[in-house]
Symmetry: D2
Subunit: 358 residues, 4 copies
């Protein structure tokens, strides 16, 4: 068993890590850490709100037994040399320092944006750009680290990049216009979205989100050549909004392709891609990586978040677009707290483990 | 005072008609009608659900006194010759027959789609395409009617067409990609959207809606030449969704213009348009027809539906688009039950009255 | 395997029957039926709303494969002599006729109120009043039926009666004041609660509900003596409300007991009762029948509906009451669509099977 | 014009003060203050969330012009001698020190609990216990203050105490069992209730709330005799819950009276009380102080919060109770942010002004 630690364990993503690593066949959680405020409390006590008395555990599954009484340490109490791998979900400005400190000794898989846009740091999605892993070797060498930092993309990028992979490879997708309707859990838990802000409402702005999606989509879908990532040439424009939905991001996507495509061909390309995706056999990989639903009323977040424990990207409403010369449009659903976050990070860890990086 | 009747008075739009005509300076409601099921009941009794006992009046304002005890007649009890104007919000397939029957004698302003796509029927939005009114004369002549049918657009079209008017006139807008996040009240009241369907959820499909928006936007923004409407040449593609919001549609819009534009110029064009719009002085016209908000977190439906009693179209997040060669993108809010429906229909009636058509 | 049919299969409760009987070790669904409107359609087609196109399947679990393509027959197409047991969830006024027709030949377990208040009909909750089963023999004899009707209580009664069983037996509970906050799924699916009625709102009235709770609680907790049920002498008063919650009823309860009690003693009595409940070993019985939670912020419907697949009644906030001479108060949660409805009906069927009644 | 200051102006209640004092005929806001964090910012900047960019103004009405650019001072910058009256809505533990400091010089009307339970401090609700004002003189004398502290009750107590006044006076109410379903705005704005906690959920616990209601109801309805308040002898027991409703608390109430009462008599007593209430003529007083609605589906928070700008307590579902010997039960609605908070405080200020205390 590989020994792992979770940093930022009391937050939204940290809790998903706790769950995703419960009874994991390869990884064992040996230590958990969070900010000073939580330090030295038991996990169950650390996640209880002191004012309302409410337990800030929002996952449908109960708290795993293994972690309930585990002590939450301060980040400084973690000795990286005791671990094979560190999962980090620190969101604050401290993320960069913390990840740097640990990556000197040990692989760090992170959900923060701290390192995402560095030239020697790949943004990996298992099944989508596995060959970018080679950049981790360069990163190690460049920086003189024993470990590395492997960040996940922003949770809004994940579903877009996954559905674009076959569209780019098969049909030369070159322009993307996307509108997201993002779940409230994407904004974290401390304090998270206020019910007074979002009930019966939409917030049409999420700070920095649109730039993240644009930059990350190009990087993820780019080519790894001569030790560098050459971003995909596609243009991406989006508007990101917050809606009164608990979990799971919905995105409407309009794509211009290089050649004419029809929905049936796109559907087949997506299914073929899904059937041959590289993640098959990894413990956290879903049975269906990418699913195309013919029911015009799908995807729906409350229903589709349940499919394959949130690890499947669901596409619906595939149809021709009438604005672009060669266009296709669709709606996608991606679970921001599962494939788009901690459980996706565990899937990445599994891939890196299989390839000998952990 | 012009004598008016309301057909379909018990429905969502009918109730807004009741409210919009309360104490109107020019129009007096003399008779109200609905389907046989409601007929011969008092208005307050006709809108009560027989199973749950709940009064199906969902407007924030109380039921106006004038209508409470008015008897709801059957549609067949309406003699058109007693009226100067009929407002119709019949949604069923019966709409076409009902509107035809009345238009033979008297002007009919309708929120249904029954006549919208006929060549001799304009889709009028006061302030946007007032010159299309001439087509009403041709319609009368063509059909040998004393009255006419003047339909409103679909409520999702309204905000889009309004914001596109200055973009088309000033900058030659030619491509539009739009995603709507539509309020539940847009789906009516009998039975309306089920709470079990929409709570914590998004429904990414509204039957026929996308085609309506595409066709209507072109027609509304077209030119009235030689007795015909020549649709605007712009391409329109959209995805329409239903979200857990009570009232007011939000739309994200991406536009390609003929020449380069910057957000400040667009803002000024929208404000200039609003300041000079033709509806000024009409009783139901808002102080601001089109409002551009610099706050990046606006428009928000729960807040912006209150502005000028739902008659103002609110634009926010104006910024350059990076996919189109010359592009602009924004978010708009339009109140589907006010400007986009009955109160907009009353505004249209006011304009037609001023111009001598009623 | 016992051969069973489901009547009213397209409704809310019918769908739960479909799910509860999926891969059941003793019962096999051989035929399903609903009203004429659905008849001769496949199950998946019969539950799709013709206007919105939305599949009216609101359960978190997917539709079981066995039923997807099963034809929905008309009720008249069911020949009771082909079955060992019929589950009926017909809600309309037709329920009484339908249940009568089938009970002449075969046991009918029903969630409707049609027969609940007849003198020779027990309202059975497995684990609570198993000895009332004897009344089924009397019913058969009285009416000359081969089968019988065994109705479940109203879903709001279930949790109250379950928690009152130990309070009555151990402490002589004699007065109950209860306020319910009931989930929207309790109002069915066709059309169900309108989102425009319940969003950001509470409806403080549910027709007939309060009388049902009062009558049923007394009958369920009564004694079966001399071939009759002598209702428990307790007084019950309640106010039933509808709240914006998808599934699971929450009830606040204030109880006067015959002797002084303290919360710890009540907790122990409830736990002892749960540990020794008669349902143990039945396939649909939960591991914990009645659970007392010390966390003052529990029960919460969104969290507690997941426990043991909705079959556990959860009690929280046990504390002394200060109005009654000897009083206790608490909050309970009961899943209206699981233990309080179809899955509870399946549990009842299991008990009746074990005792030789099916 | 009396010169007033608002302390705690950026919070939920402070914002309601801002609105309630807009264009007030007697009171003029000359200074506003909040914690150091907001100090020296303009009001509109001080209430914007730095992370999400969202303006934390949740009231339906827009921000009044007079306050938009007013500077928020630190509390220490307020010189009490410049004012005739101070409104304080400080919620933190600092409330007691702040109120003490100002009350030495000037009347302080407060929504905090800091002084509520002191023997020489009345909890005043205009129209309910006006004669308790005399205790303010004793308070001044006792403490050697020029001013005084006059706290409002907890917002959950307000509606209960108002409806109990006629029940106590006319029918000798002696036992009360109450369940509250409280709006989210009652939990404040910084951070306020998390959407992840409350969406599709109920939280059955609000820290300290139940004791507050019990103590305050007795004190408010008590007699002021010999310089002391002798609490009403009634017993009060309640369970307080939080529900997904934006504004307005709903309470189910079960009351035992000394003599038999029927609902019609209670209705008449409530209406008579309302028609003769002492607040008539005060600028913030509602036209109807207490309203009894015969519609069994009322009160509903989304509808009834609009009545008389949230200043009317609405009662519905009046009916006999079957548990108490002489009992009555009903549902009440009270707007927690209007009559139950800042606007109620302004009403109190108006009464004190009329009586020469300000």
């Amino acid at each position: 068993m590989k020994r792992v630690a979770i940093i930022g364990v009391t937050g939204a993503v940290g809790q998903e890590f706790v769950l995703s690593l419960n009874k994991h066949p390869w990884f064992e959680v040996k230590q958990i850490a969070a900010s000073e405020r939580s330090a030295k409390k038991k996990f169950v006590d650390a996640i209880r709100d002191p004012n309302s008395g409410i337990l800030k555990w929002h996952l449908r599954e109960p708290i795993p037994e293994y972690v309930k009484n585990m002590t939450v340490d301060a980040v400084d109490d973690i000795n990286p040399e005791n671990f094979d791998l560190i999962f980090s979900s620190v969101e604050s400005e401290a993320a960069r320092d913390i990840e740097t400190k640990f990556a000197k000794y040990v692989p760090v898989i992170s959900t923060s944006a701290a390192y995402r846009y560095e030239a020697d740091v790949p943004i990996l999605i298992p099944g989508i750009n596995d060959d970018h892993i080679g950049l981790l070797d360069i990163q190690r060498k460049n920086r003189g680290w024993k470990g590395f930092v492997a960040p996940l993309p922003n949770c809004t990028t994940t579903g877009l990049a996954i559905t674009m992979r076959p569209l780019l490879d098969q049909f030369g997708a070159q322009k993307i216009i996307m509108t997201s309707m993002q779940a409230m859990s994407g904004a974290g838990r401390s304090p998270g979205v206020s019910a007074l802000d979002i009930t019966d409402n939409i917030i049409p702005f999420i700070p920095k989100e649109e730039d993240k999606v644009r930059l990350e989509t190009g990087k993820i879908l780019g080519k790894f050549i001569d030790g560098k990532i050459d971003p995909a040439k596609m243009k991406v424009s989006c508007t990101c909004t917050r809606v009164p939905v608990l979990d799971g991001h919905t995105e409407t996507v309009f794509v211009e392709t290089a050649t004419h495509v029809d929905p049936e061909t796109v559907k087949k390309a997506m299914q073929d891609f899904s059937n041959n995706v590289s993640t098959m056999g990894l413990p956290s990989a879903p049975k269906e990586y990418l699913m195309v639903n013919d029911d015009p009323t799908r995807p729906q977040p409350r229903l589709d978040r349940e499919i394959n424990e949130g690890m499947t990207t669901v596409v619906g409403r595939l149809r021709e677009d009438t604005v672009f010369d060669n266009g296709i449009k669709y709606v996608l659903f991606s679970h921001n707290e599962k494939m788009g976050s901690a459980k996706g990070a565990v899937l990445l860890a599994e891939m890196l483990y299989k390839k000998g990086y952990i």
